[in-house]
């Protein structure tokens, strides 16, 4: 049994759930070939030094394992035939070079929003387009709400001016803020 180290680049569009599937598939193949995973590390999404398959980013996974030398070919074939793996490198390492740590990957729990996006991605394209339409409608509704809120704000300071002279300076500041927000909105619309 020799010790090997493999770094492979997974397609950047693949999110946590499918990334786990790819990693577990690789581990299953290793266990079938009587290999043992000793260390695994997720380097995260990195920018590639040059484009591979027109992708400028990739998720790097590093894995150290022990395996018989005859079976390395099958492992490389497994990685080669997976279209979601952009590039891989298998190198032989000494047992002293094996890093100590967990041999199970701790996936960092990201925001809930990303998970929600994943579930949407899993759905069919038609549904996605529908979702997009609904999102567009939602955003329109939000815009209308914001504009109505702003109208309220603009009305309020005018009332306050009538009430007290001292607060007039603050109101001017508020009005300026409102103007700036409106400018931002114009930019968004443009």
């Amino acid at each position: 049994m020799n010790h090997y180290e493999t770094v492979y680049i997974v397609h950047p569009a693949i999110q946590e759930g499918r990334l786990n599937d790819i990693i577990s598939k690789f581990h299953n193949k290793l266990s079938k070939l009587k290999g043992e995973v000793l260390y695994i590390e997720n380097w995260g999404k990195k920018k590639l030094a040059y484009a591979i398959d027109k992708q400028k980013y990739g998720t790097y996974i590093m894995c150290q394992y022990s395996l018989d030398g005859q079976n390395v070919k099958e492992i490389s074939q497994e990685l080669e035939l997976n279209p979601n793996i952009l590039r891989y490198l298998i190198s032989k390492v000494e047992s002293s070079d094996i890093k100590e740590g967990s041999n199970t990957l701790e996936i960092e729990s990201k925001n809930d929003d990303s998970k929600a996006q994943e579930s949407k991605n899993d759905d069919s394209k038609a549904q996605e387009s529908k979702n997009d339409d609904s999102k567009a409608q939602e955003s329109k509704n939000d815009d209308s709400k914001e504009s109505s809120v702003k109208d309220d704000n603009t009305e309020e300071p005018s009332k306050e001016k009538n009430d007290e002279e001292n607060s007039s300076l603050e109101d001017v500041v508020d009005e300026n803020n409102n103007e700036s927000i409106s400018d931002d909105e114009v930019e968004k619309d443009a």
Binding site: V7, I9, K46, L48, A49, Y50, A51, I52, K56, G58, Y60, M62, R87, L89, S91
Partner: protein, 78 residues
């Protein structure tokens, strides 16, 4: 950029801990031994001894395969 040294003392003979850093996973360290274009700087410029220059070149070439370092830096690539 390059470690330009006139005295030409091998950095790995001065500091033995650096030898562990000759590894394609330490690509940030290996960047010292390539030019802005991505070329490997010859040992007679950096002063690295032949033993470690051989290791450096092989590790840089591994890092290039994994797109951790460029084969040839393209200024248009961003």
């Amino acid at each position: 950029m390059a470690i330009l040294s006139n005295n030409r003392i091998c950095p790995f003979k001065e500091d033995a801990d650096l030898i562990k850093k000759i590894d394609y996973k330490e690509y940030k360290f290996l960047r010292k031994f390539i030019t802005e274009q991505g070329k490997i700087i010859p040992a007679h410029v950096t002063g690295v001894s032949a033993k470690y220059q051989r290791l450096i070149t092989s590790e840089i070439k591994k890092a290039r395969v994994l797109a951790l370092m460029p084969f040839c830096a393209d200024p248009r690539y961003s």
